[in-house]
């Protein structure tokens, strides 16, 4: 096993070192985003330090998904500046944006897997950004990436299922495959858009704990939107609440109570 080349980056040498040890993973300054007449985010500011696990909470339609897509260049801000891993996605060429995205992992609510392919093939797709040509089939990927895929599947507890079709896996297992796929990128920042919204409570806890553990081991930063208050408190270092396109709370998790977060939803419901 060529861990020095292919394995996850040791927490002792965080990849964030590339952009300087003091650089923030994310800096948002007065960022607004408008779709037609609908302003989804109004002048938000945010700084996320390397290695932090930030839970983004707030009612549906509050702007959480938009915020995450602003961070990986999926959307561009209408006003303000976004700086992610030392780069401004809005100023990137298409090639630069792709290069930036190879450093940002994204975990989706619906997993985004190809159901008729095996877990291994889906995981390998996470490395496509580092390769030049399209690939089809496990054996078209270089040996070191295949070894890395096996290792990542083992880390999410799915080594035995590596040759199993993804559409025959449970929801929780599918999300783990998606996480293993994300690990292939050796990302410095991981954005997770309601990653457990489609899962049952037991699978939700397990998936988030896996993400938390991997982030601690590999040292990547996580911004994770969540609806479950208890889960947000259980895994995050910091809770940021969004409502009506603005941040209405930004506190360390240790200083946040369940009531604080429930209030974010309750006030929304009563409006």
């Amino acid at each position: 096993m060529t861990a020095d080349l292919t394995g996850p980056v040791s927490p002792a040498i965080p990849r964030s070192a590339r952009t300087g040890p003091a650089a923030a993973s994310i800096t948002l300054a007065q960022v607004s985003k408008r779709f037609g007449d609908n302003e989804v985010l109004h002048g938000v500011d945010l700084t996320v330090r390397p290695g932090e696990f930030v839970a983004l909470v707030g009612p549906s339609g509050a702007g959480k998904s938009t915020l995450l897509r602003l961070l990986n260049g999926g959307h561009l801000p209408t006003a303000g500046t976004v700086e992610v891993l030392g780069r401004n996605p809005a100023a990137c060429s298409r090639r630069d944006l792709r290069e930036l995205r190879t450093r940002i992992g994204f975990v989706f609510q619906q997993f985004g897997l190809v159901g008729r392919l095996t877990a291994m093939e889906n995981v390998l797709m996470g490395a496509l950004g580092s390769l030049a040509m399209p690939r089809y089939g496990i054996m078209t990927y270089p040996r070191r990436l295949r070894d890395q895929a096996v290792e990542n599947l083992e880390r999410v507890g799915l080594l035995e299922q590596r040759f199993q079709r993804c559409d025959t896996l449970s929801g929780g297992q599918q999300q783990r495959v998606a996480i293993a796929r994300m690990l292939m990128q050796q990302a410095e920042l991981v954005l997770a858009d309601e990653p457990v919204a489609s899962l049952d409570p037991a699978a939700s806890i397990s998936v988030l704990q896996t993400l938390k553990k991997l982030s601690a081991e590999d040292g990547f930063t996580v911004v994770c939107s969540l609806h479950q208050v208890d889960l947000a408190l259980a895994v995050s270092d910091r809770v940021v609440a969004v409502r009506g396109g603005q941040f209405i709370m930004d506190t360390p998790t240790a200083a946040t109570t369940e009531q604080d977060i429930r209030a974010v939803y309750a006030e929304h419901g009563s409006r």
Partner: protein, 546 residues
């Protein structure tokens, strides 16, 4: 229909009476009425009378008499042509399958590149679909000279439209999440497309390409009629020299070839279907020599062998096309002359008349075909008519009749009855009957028999039970399939003129032969416009009814 007291509606039920039954969509009665009108007019125009048909049958019998006993002539040369026919179809289908991928990716609504590229690709798919392969064959023979290259290109260009349309639909139906997920990892658009979109489409695409190959072999068998290689060349020579015994022998060879391939295609499709069952088993690969290497199982071996065989066949087919490299320069000149000759296109009354006659032949033949097909379908559906032997015999007859390309029927009828749309109409009516019978039988087999049984149980007669228990369920697929049949008939009727069986085909071939490319362009534009317009009309009607 809801009526408010302030806005009384004449169609709404007066207070106190039972609610009105749901309104039948206008298309349900307007389409049959339209076809009835066109058919009556077509019968007058083409001069279809029982007397004419009876007299025609006598002529056909006399021709058949001159065909007996059939002879094939020298067998080795015929076999060479049979093999050439297969190569043309395989090469054409393979080229089309490959070219359809980028074309469909760009034509799909999920494409994010420049708009003009998308519209260009969509237009290419529409035009290549609308123009039959025999028409492309006439044009390519002019550009590349006689031989299988023109044939393979003709088959491939028309198939691009067919496969491209299907692929575009498959791409558009997919959920965007996997593609977005892979794009978010920094993969290029092409990588994300192959990893997610194409991978998910593969089962449907490969099964459609196989189905298309089946159709293309049928098409390749007659390309020789315009000099584009294959066994049709021998048929054309035999008919041209009035050697009807040899023509009959060649027709029999074509029918046997198509029957055998029908069987092969059925077996391949079935094994593919079985394979798709095994691949839904949770473990796709067995463990290999190490954790990162999948092992070889019988299923994986069979899959790899199948792919290798398909690639080898395609490459072999390409190598047999004997591309005349020395003449390619002239092909460029020919293509240039053809394309520059297209401008400005000429539209004459003759073109309008020819297209009108083609449409009339197609729609009239569809009406006859739908009625005959419905009778055959009802008689061959087990749970409607309990006559297994009759049903089996009818189904077999339908397979045999469908196996013969329309233009071969047209050739025979022209030889027996003389030139003109009557021969074309008869040829189309036969193929439409078989096609409609196949579609209707499939639809009737899938109908829920419970209402039929329930009506029979309360003492309803056979016909009553059919009208009340089966017909209402069957109407949408009846209309949908009838429209589809007329769509196919229209494309076929446009080429029957090549053998003198009426319609625009004759003028088309003449215009190319006499280097009157402006007329060729006018015909092509007219043809595409009519086919696309009728296709849109059919799509609208299908949406209204189904």
């Amino acid at each position: 229909m809801l009526a408010t007291p302030t806005r009384p509606d004449a169609r709404s039920a007066p207070p106190g009476t039972a609610p009105r039954p749901p309104r039948i969509p206008a298309a349900t009665w307007a389409i049959p009425l339209f076809y009835l009108g066109v058919t009556l007019f077509g019968m007058w125009w083409i001069d279809i009378r029982p007397g004419a048909i009876a007299a025609g049958l006598g002529d056909i019998a006399r021709l058949l008499d001159r065909m007996v006993p059939p002879t094939t002539g020298p067998v080795p040369s015929l076999l060479t042509l049979v093999v050439e026919t297969l190569w043309i179809a395989i090469a054409g289908t393979g080229i089309a399958a490959i070219l359809s991928v980028p074309l469909s990716a760009a034509a799909a609504s999920t494409y994010t590149g420049p708009r003009w590229v998308q519209w260009l690709c969509r237009a290419l798919i529409v035009v290549t679909r609308a123009v039959p392969s025999l028409v492309f064959a006439i044009i390519f023979v002019r550009i590349f000279g006689l031989g299988p290259l023109a044939g393979a290109l003709a088959v491939s260009v028309h198939s691009i439209g067919m496969i491209g349309k299907m692929m575009t639909d498959v791409f558009e139906e997919q959920s965007p999440q996997p593609r977005e997920a892979i794009a978010a990892t920094g993969a290029t658009r092409v990588q994300a497309f192959f990893a997610t979109t194409m991978t998910r489409a593969l089962p449907q695409v490969s099964s459609f390409v196989l189905y298309r190959l089946d159709i293309n072999i049928r098409a390749s068998a007659v390309l020789g009629l315009v000099g584009a290689g294959g066994i049709g060349v021998a048929l054309q020579t035999a008919i041209g020299s009035l050697d009807y015994r040899r023509a009959a022998g060649i027709i029999i060879v074509i029918i046997v070839l198509l029957m055998v391939l029908e069987l092969v295609s059925f077996l391949v499709q079935r094994s593919l279907a079985e394979h798709s069952d095994t691949s839904t088993a949770s473990q796709v690969f067995v463990p290999g020599k190490d954790a990162a290497t999948p092992g070889w199982s019988t299923a994986r071996g069979a899959r790899a062998l199948g792919v290798a065989a398909a690639v080898a066949l395609f490459l072999a087919a390409l190598s047999t096309l004997s591309i005349p490299f020395d003449r390619l320069a002239r092909a460029g000149e020919n293509a240039g002359a053809l394309l520059s000759g297209f401008v400005p296109p000429v539209f004459t009354m003759d073109i309008a008349y020819g297209i009108f006659e083609s449409v009339l032949m197609a729609l009239t033949a569809t009406s006859f075909g739908v009625v005959i097909g419905l009778i055959i379908a009802v008689l061959s559906t087990d749970h409607l008519v309990r006559a297994r032997a009759l049903g089996g015999a009818l189904r077999a007859a339908v397979v045999v009749i469908r196996g013969v390309p329309d233009i071969i029927y047209a050739l025979v009828f022209v030889a027996a009855l003389g030139l003109g749309p009557f021969a074309g109409f008869l040829a189309l009516a036969i193929s439409c009957s078989a096609l409609a019978a196949k579609f209707f039988t499939d639809a009737l087999q899938n109908i829920d028999p419970a209402p039929l049984r329930a009506l029979e149980a309360v003492g309803a007669g056979r016909l009553q039970a059919f009208v009340s228990g089966v017909w209402p369920q069957f109407v949408p697929s009846f209309i949908g399939n009838s429209l589809f049949t007329s769509d196919l008939a229209l494309r076929e009727s446009a080429v029957l003129g090549i053998v003198g069986a009426g319609g625009i085909g004759f003028l088309l071939q003449e215009s190319v032969a006499s280097v009157d490319y402006q007329t060729t362009a006018g015909i092509l534009i007219g043809l595409v416009a009519v086919v696309v317009a009728l296709e849109q009309l059919a799509r609208w009607a299908r949406r209204k009814v189904i």
